[in-house]
């Protein structure tokens, strides 16, 4: 990870700390941020960063300028220039806080507010227009901490350093979050307890009327907490329940209590029983096909937390706040630490629904005579399209997040994918799957790479874990083979690069009838298929395929 922190003030110690974690570009002095970003031959661009953070001090930018408005407009247009010309770089540009402490009459008005707003508005427009720029929310950090804490007068007068040590640490945290989120590191599932977690009190004792959950006063602690959890869910995080309760008592609250924010359809699964929570969580992980290391477990009871930590060390188990008036802060902390999200795709907003459909598919499977009957009964439809600017966001997300059915586990950003398909030699495809239970959306990405006139190789082949086990890969690869055969290729070369998680597809190409060419000492496998002859191996076909 190569990054750069540009600023119009001295942030040396922040840059020093970040340099311990990442490869950070060192600017000569500070204040030259505009030259750095607009000059294509600048040190910044020859360094070749993946991400550029531009931290702007508002006072420094606007002070002493008689025409602050036009300074802001010009600077925004410089940033736009840089963002547009460097689609491979992700930019984070801070909003500004203006603490001028000027002495003036009341009537002369707080011009600072309007300038802050002007800058914010300009950035917001850029971030809606370009994929590769985000607003870095400096202003919220200042507001949460308070200016007295954020700025250090002493450091300023002694050393020309404007922000306090504490402020720099908070900036560092925020930068780390942005980096993690851009890399696609995010937990997937939040498992919640019920009694004294989603509501106050114990439903098994007090009943529906006896629990604390309301718009005002005590019960509002829990209602507000639920509201924040629902917002987390809307970012594409799935919620599940693990509670020791009589199912009927608890479900009555979830369905009927008028102050419940989270309802049955907001959860992918309700594990309300008297089994061990660790067992319930393990089952959830299998049923949803989500790794234990992607799960976060919330419970007010320290004994339950300890037990889950001991049994399932991969699961993240944060401490529950001692003081329940801090539940909203706790939810925000959970978001910041585990679910920080730069932007959501359409897929994210309907994720819970997708997983719920999958649970129904599992039930259908249980009642089918054979697995093949079940697959046939799904009425699967597969649609293959070319990878394009319209679908690249989800495709990049899939390359970032797919671990199990991923033959080469190459992670790509949107910009990288767009650059690849714009180049000669690479072709990208994506597949959408739907069935009688619903639409799964985009589930597969395939990228092929031209080698010679007769050879083409598979750079990327992945399938979302949601549709694994349905032999959809057979039809997708069949399509890819046919297409390249028609273009005159004779051989398709494929690879399996082992990771900790992609064991399920270790022998995929053997099953698909490829010939193993080579295995190296680390287990990397290379295969070939002659496209000349018609395929002889047994491929399965349960879906209806439409392509391009």
């Amino acid at each position: 990870m190569k990054l750069s922190i540009l600023s119009n003030i001295n942030l040396d110690s922040l840059i020093g700390r970040l340099s311990k974690l990442y490869d950070v570009y060192k600017t000569e002095g500070y204040g030259a941020w505009i030259q750095e970003i607009i000059n294509p031959d600048s040190g910044l661009y020859s360094f070749g960063p993946d991400m550029v953070f531009i931290i702007i001090d508002g006072e420094e930018m606007c002070n002493g300028q008689s025409k602050s408005n036009s300074t802001i407009d010009t600077n925004i247009s410089y940033i736009e220039e840089a963002v547009k010309n460097n689609p491979d770089i992700t930019f984070f540009v801070s909003n500004i806080d203006l603490w001028t402490r000027k002495i003036e009459s009341v009537k002369s008005g707080a011009k600072e507010r309007r300038l802050e707003f002007l800058w914010e508005g300009g950035l917001f427009l850029l971030s809606s227009k370009y994929r590769n720029v985000y607003v870095f929310d400096l202003k919220s950090i200042v507001e949460d901490k308070g200016r007295e804490q954020f700025y250090s007068k002493k450091l300023w007068y002694l050393g020309g350093i404007k922000y306090s040590m504490k402020a720099e640490k908070l900036l560092e945290q925020q930068i780390n979050r942005c980096i993690a989120s851009a890399k696609g590191i995010r937990k997937k599932c939040l498992v919640l307890d019920l009694d004294n977690t989603l509501w106050g009190g114990v439903v098994g004792e007090g009943g529906l009327e006896g629990i604390e959950l309301s718009d005002y006063k005590e019960g509002a602690r829990y209602k507000d907490f639920q509201r924040r959890l629902k917002e987390i869910k809307d970012l594409g995080i799935i919620l599940a329940i693990a509670s020791k309760n009589n199912f009927n008592d608890a479900i009555k609250v979830i369905r009927e209590h008028k102050h419940m924010v989270l309802r049955e359809e907001d959860f992918v699964a309700l594990k309300i029983n008297w089994d061990l929570k660790s067992q319930n969580i393990r089952n959830l992980s299998q049923e949803l096909n989500i790794g234990l290391d992607s799960m976060v477990f919330i419970d007010d009871n320290p004994i339950e937390r300890e037990s889950v930590k001991r049994e399932l060390p991969e699961v993240t188990v944060p401490d529950f706040p001692q003081d329940t008036s801090e539940l909203v802060d706790f939810a925000i902390e959970l978001y910041n630490d585990y679910f920080y999200t730069l932007n959501t795709t359409d897929e994210d907003t309907v994720k819970t629904e997708k997983y719920r459909q999958n649970m129904k598919r599992r039930d259908a499977q249980k009642s089918s005579a054979s697995y093949e009957d079940f697959l046939l009964s799904l009425e699967t439809k597969i649609e293959i399209r070319r990878l394009s600017a319209e679908n690249v966001q989800r495709a990049a997300q899939l390359t970032q997040k797919t671990n199990q059915f991923n033959l080469t586990t190459k992670r790509y950003s949107e910009q990288e994918l767009l650059a690849m398909i714009g180049e000669r030699g690479f072709e990208g495809f994506v597949a959408y799957v739907s069935d009688r239970f619903g639409d799964n959306g985009m589930v597969s990405v395939v990228i092929t790479k031209h080698k010679t006139d007769s050879e083409v190789e598979l750079d990327t082949f992945l399938l979302s874990c949601r549709v694994m086990g349905r032999f959809i890969e057979d039809q997708i690869i069949g399509f890819i083979e046919d297409l390249h055969k028609k273009s005159g290729y004779k051989k398709l070369i494929t690879y399996y690069k082992p990771t900790e998680k992609n064991v399920p597809v270790k022998d995929l190409f053997e099953r698909l009838g490829y010939t193993l060419l080579d295995v190296d000492s680390t287990g990397n496998k290379k295969y070939v298929l002659n496209l000349g002859k018609s395929s002889t191996c047994s491929r399965k076909e349960f879906g209806e395929l439409r392509a391009l």
């Binding site: 040396d12 002493k154 450091l155 007068y157 002694l158 050393g159 350093i161 306090s164 040590m165 504490k166």
Partner: protein, 71 residues
Amino acid sequence: MEKLIELVSEILNLDKESISLETSREKTSAWDSLNHIRLVAEVEEQLNIKIPFEKVPDIKKVGDFLDYVKE
């Protein structure tokens, strides 16, 4: 006091064991003028004390910080 030693070791990037109340600016090369400022700011923030602007240059060794902690 333990906290103070910890802060000094963190800012100056030195082993805790090598730092005592007698560790001085003069004899510690890592304790340059920039780190001096950072150290003052960090000690103020973390130990919740105030060192008057005029007194900042007078801090010559780790023990000098204790004058402000006691007050």
